[in-house]
Amino acid sequence: MPTVLIPPPYRGPTDGAAEIVVEGDSVLACLEAVGRKYPGFLDQVLTADGAVHRFVKLFQNGEQLDGDVLSVAVSEDDSIEILAAIAGG
């Protein structure tokens, strides 16, 4: 089953879990599966309209996704990684 990799800033709702194995055949299905298990998670990644937040980047097996990223097909052994920029300045 695919694995969703959670970045440290988003591990509040996942109680610290960094890797979550889910069932899903698309990026959106995988993210929603994490959201069902961990309430509050999905809001960190998607807007109220269901789009990916501007400040979030998604990767599939290490390759950055662009375009209609939520519709991208996901296979059994795939990993979906989420990145969010954090810095003070």
């Binding site: 400040f55 003070g88 300045g89």
Partner: protein, 573 residues
């Protein structure tokens, strides 16, 4: 070959305005920036001295890799005993002086003493011919941008500057040290935290001019390996997500979501104005006003600095950072990024830390002595600081001083230094850093944005990132490049043509912290000082207070065995 050799160190005696150049000790070759500053202060500065007296020692030390072709590696550390915290302090900044000093082979400038005439101003001039101390009386009291504009006409175009604004001249504890950036040569980069500008001012030092002339890039011992490292590291970075390519100000929505975008002196963790303070608005303004992302120093591949223009398309400031938007914006209930940009420029002009200044004004507002969100009054207040009105002095001396001035109880700080944006209530491991770092409440000492951490992980996570950041801040690399310890030791190995083990780099990071803690202990600090301001332990945001037990806080100062994640952890600040 053994790598760069013949390095020197400059000792300036401000009591009689002389400079002496000495050989840089060979055994210190892998000490730069923060670690070098700590080593010099431990050796040469009485920890019990008056921070604004002649016995304090001001260190300006570029990183080990500064002046080389390593990407984004030209940062310079400013160090001294802090007038704000009373402990050791290091703040580092970009711009060009770090690169220029190292191209000339100068590993540090150590400034001691003070002139007998407190009204006299001096400059240190450094070029290929040597070092001299000259009068700078003609520049007394000048704001930073005017000063640098005048200095540009006085010195060669190749020169860069380290300057002290009027807040530093007035010895205010929130004063910064400015450096000029690489393209416009504006004094827009600041070693801001801890009041090091006040130390510079107390020594009568208005500016340092560094002209590298035709000096070339520092050559490593193993040129082939060093070149390959530069190429590979740069390619990997540029092929990656480049999370900071629109600047740190783009972090606003994430921070707001995590309840660490403090509002109204931190009584809340989210601001209703997050949309209008979001750095995305700044990037959008580039299209109609001009402005752009740029690199503050030569060789930077991160380019996180935004150049902000006004509505007329004229330059206003750079860089407008997340921390500034938070402390001078949300924390004071200011809604407009443009107002914050005006205040950022004012702080750069006067030479003030935007974090400390914003936190101090929020205390003033919380005490009922200024209206929340009154940006125009804030601008007037910052501009009056050099006039040393009672209120201006309080703000210029920081949040704790403003708390005393107003009699207000809620002053969010640790060791006398205002809490930066990242809040220790939702981010408790970061709070452990604020309590235990020799630097006080400083996110660049060890930022951990992981609200899912369990209490038994706080001590190691804090210690780990404090070590990584100490090494990073000694290397010259910018934290936004996010190097890890393995990256840094690879570069060191190629620079000096010798293996630098994981154990050695772990030791170096720990030794830096140990030197700094030893300085603070000798200055009179104890375990009872490793605490958070009471308001952060009592007033919740999003239902959370800072409630980390003292034994967990104390554990972060006890050296733990290295785990593999130490070497993979990226610098984070």
């Amino acid at each position: 070959m053994s790598g760069p050799s013949g390095d020197k160190i400059i000792y300036v005696d401000m009591t009689n305005q002389t400079a002496e150049v000495k050989d840089f000790p060979e055994e210190w070759k892998l000490l730069g920036g923060r670690a070098l500053s700590a080593k010099i202060l431990t050796a040469d500065c009485d920890p019990k001295c008056d921070p604004l007296g002649p016995d304090n020692v001001l260190v300006m030390a570029p990183g080990v890799l500064s002046g080389t072709a390593a990407p984004t590696s030209g940062r310079i550390s400013i160090g001294a005993k802090s007038p704000l915290t009373g402990g050791i302090k290091e703040a580092n900044t970009g711009g060009q002086p770090g690169q220029h000093l190292m191209k000339l082979g100068y590993r540090a400038i150590v400034v001691k003493g003070a002139p007998s005439d407190a009204e006299a101003r001096y400059a240190v001039e450094i070029n290929e011919d040597g070092v001299s101390v000259t009068s700078a009386d003609a520049h007394k009291g000048k704001w930073n941008y005017t000063l640098c504009q005048d200095l540009h006409g006085q010195y060669p175009k190749t020169a860069s500057f380290i300057t002290c604004g009027p807040a530093g001249e007035a010895r205010l504890s929130g004063a910064s040290v400015a450096t000029t950036d690489q393209d416009n040569r504006f004094p827009a980069r600041h070693a801001a935290r801890g009041g090091l500008g006040a130390v510079m001012g107390s020594k009568g030092l208005k500016y340092v001019m560094v002209d590298p002339g035709r000096a070339s890039v520092r050559q490593p011992s193993d040129r082939k390996k060093f070149g390959e490292l530069c190429k590979t590291y740069t390619k990997d970075y540029l092929d990656g997500p480049q999370m900071f390519k629109t600047g740190t100000s783009s972090v606003v929505p994430v921070a707001n979501m995590l309840h660490t975008f403090p509002y109204k002196n931190r009584v809340e963790g989210q601001s209703p104005d997050a949309q209008t303070l979001d750095g995305a608005r700044i990037v959008e303004s580039f299209e109609t006003r001009g402005g752009e992302m740029h690199n503050c120093m030569t060789g930077c591949i991160v380019k996180c600095s935004n150049v902000v223009h006004d509505a007329q398309g004229e330059y206003k400031t750079s860089a407008l950072e997340f921390e500034t938007l938070t402390l001078l914006g949300a924390n004071c209930a200011v809604a407009s990024w443009e107002d914050v940009a005006d205040m950022d420029r004012l702080c750069d002009e006067v030479g003030l830390d935007t974090i400390e200044t914003g936190a101090a004004i929020a205390v003033l507002m919380d005490a009922g002595q200024l209206e929340w969100g009154d940006a125009e009054a804030m601008k007037k207040l910052i501009a009056e600081i050099p006039e040393l009105t009672d209120r201006g002095k309080a703000i210029g001396n920081g949040a704790v001083a403003t708390g005393k001035f107003t009699g207000h109880h809620r002053v969010p700080h640790a060791k006398g230094q205002a809490i930066p944006a990242w809040d220790p209530r939702p981010l408790k491991a970061t709070g452990v850093t604020y309590c235990t770092s020799p630097m006080g409440a400083d996110h660049t000492a060890g930022l951990i944005v992981n609200p899912g951490l369990q209490p038994d992980q706080f001590a190691w996570e804090s210690q780990k990132v404090q070590i990584v950041n100490a090494v990073c801040d000694s290397s010259g690399f910018c934290q936004f490049l996010q190097p890890n310890l393995d990256n840094i030791r690879d570069f060191y190995g190629a620079l000096y043509g010798e293996e630098f083990s994981r154990e050695a780099i772990h030791d170096q990071g720990w030794e830096c912290l140990a030197d700094e803690w030893a300085f603070n202990d000798a200055a009179g600090f104890g375990a009872s000082d490793d605490v958070m301001a009471e308001c952060l332990s009592k007033d919740p945001i999003n239902g959370q207070v800072f409630d980390v037990p003292a034994d967990i806080v104390a554990a972060a100062r006890q050296r733990m065995p290295a785990q593999d994640d130490l070497f993979e952890a990226k610098a984070s600040g």
